[in-house]
Amino acid sequence: MSKLNELTVKEALEGLKKKEFTSVDLVKSCLAQIEKFDPKIKAFLRVTSESAIKKAEEADKEISAKGAEAFVNKPLLGIPYAAKDNYSTKNIETTASSKVLEGYVPPFDATAIKKLNEAGAILLGKTNLDAFAHGSSTETSDFGTTFNPWDLSKVPGGSSGGSAAAVASHMVLFATGSETGGSTRGPASWCGVTGVKPSYGRVSRYGIVAMASSTDSPGPLTKTAEDAAVVLRVMAGKDPLDATSSPAEVPDYLAEGKSFSMKGVKIGRPVSYFEMELEEGTRKKIDEAIEVFKSLGAEIIDVDMLSPKYSIAVYTILQRSEVSSNLARLDGIRYGHDRNSFGFEAKKRIMLGAYTLSSGYYDAYYAKAQNRNKCTVRVL
């Protein structure tokens, strides 16, 4: 059998149910991996070993008392995970990799964290990201860059780079990420793991350090698509604390996935995206994926979407505008430090947003971007 930390969530759950090993074994195996490799990879900002082992002991008690029954209401019982450091964690420092929030200990859990913990998952620590998720490499983190576990001379992608690197190097069985424009899927791709950006509103944003509130989408980073289905089902759902969360029922993604047939499914291929400069390997992989979908019975049709050269400009205006508004709340009075602690990238984004939102420029920039955003939505 492979080492415990190398198991998928699905395999680990089976082993725990059959009592082949304990949750304490699982947690200790992950902690040993972190100790061995994280000094080089730097995926974690902090590790919560003590509370994790305590929770694993409790999980083991529950499993030995109730057996497989224990997993009915706790589908992730005893499974170690890591959270991106922009997820608020009760009594555990949460910085979003920014010095502005250094030392800040939230008095509450983000809803997604609460749901994962209630499902029995065990938090092993908080992972690195670009400060306030402003970036695609973890290089803008105020606490140093994370390295790609496949090649330490390279970055893991971002902003959820720490989470992706932690899953890829088997330091945890899964991790949480968040995405506004590629922040989960990007690092998942760079590190060779599975990342899902759910529809906006599927997972509650409550307790996640806000970047661009109209697009922020929390989601899972896992070793397999099956695991992503299991974890997303736990994270998703209507939350009274996030008015934009979707009231739609959360399906059993795993069961749906298994019975799903590609036959007759139409998949759009956005033509303008393939007119952009693409790395040869990327183009090849997409073409291969298209062939796989075709062989499964799907129909591939070319669709006309707003070219990325325009949508990136739309994204830039809307994201910077929302950043300047969201980060305005950070004044060091109720928590964190004052605004002198912002890094260069955050300052740049705040200032551009303040400019595009300011009187006299609002119509020229923000309102126009909102128009174009509609074009994007319509085409989608």
């Binding site: 800040y104 200990v105 008095p107 509450f108 906006y200 509103g201 109209s214 009274p240 604390l241 008015a243 934009t244 979707s246 009231p247 050269k309 325009y310 400009a313 739309v314 830039t316 205006i317 300047s324 305005a328 004044d331 060091g332 009075i333 109720r334 928590y335 964190g336 605004r339 002198n340 912002f342 260069f344 300052k347 740049k348 705040i350 200032m351 551009l352 303040a354 400019y355 300011s358 920039y365 309102a367 126009k368 971007a369 909102q370 128009n371 174009r372 955003n373 509609k374 074009c375 939505v377 319509r378």
Partner: protein, 102 residues
């Protein structure tokens, strides 16, 4: 690089925006003026699109008038809310004065 006068955001404007955003950018004014101007230059590409007949998007969820059912009464206790506060006076958050600030 662009000559100073063709820049979209001048150093003077940068200073004004920084003050408005309560950011200290001393020493980096030139760099910000250059970088912000570059970004504004790039987003000019949107002028190629005609959106005069398209209405604005304010949200994508389609949800309207979302209310809580009233069961969620307290989210944070006063004690918890004050936990990270720098200065507390009479169990309240102390802030700097708005008028006559130093």
């Amino acid at each position: 690089m662009d000559a100073m006068d063709s820049r979209k955001i001048t150093i003077e404007e940068v200073k004004k925006i920084a003050q408005m955003s309560k950011l200290n950018i001393e020493g980096d004014e030139e760099k910000f003026s250059q970088l912000l101007s570059q970004t504004l230059e790039y987003i000019k590409i949107l002028d190629e699109l005609d959106t005069s007949k398209v209405s604005e998007t304010f949200q994508v969820t389609g949800l309207t008038n979302v209310y809580q059912d009233g069961s969620q009464k307290v989210t944070l206790s006063r004690e918890d809310a004050l936990k990270n506060v720098k200065e507390i006076i009479r169990n309240l958050v102390a802030t700097k004065g708005v008028f006559d600030r130093e």
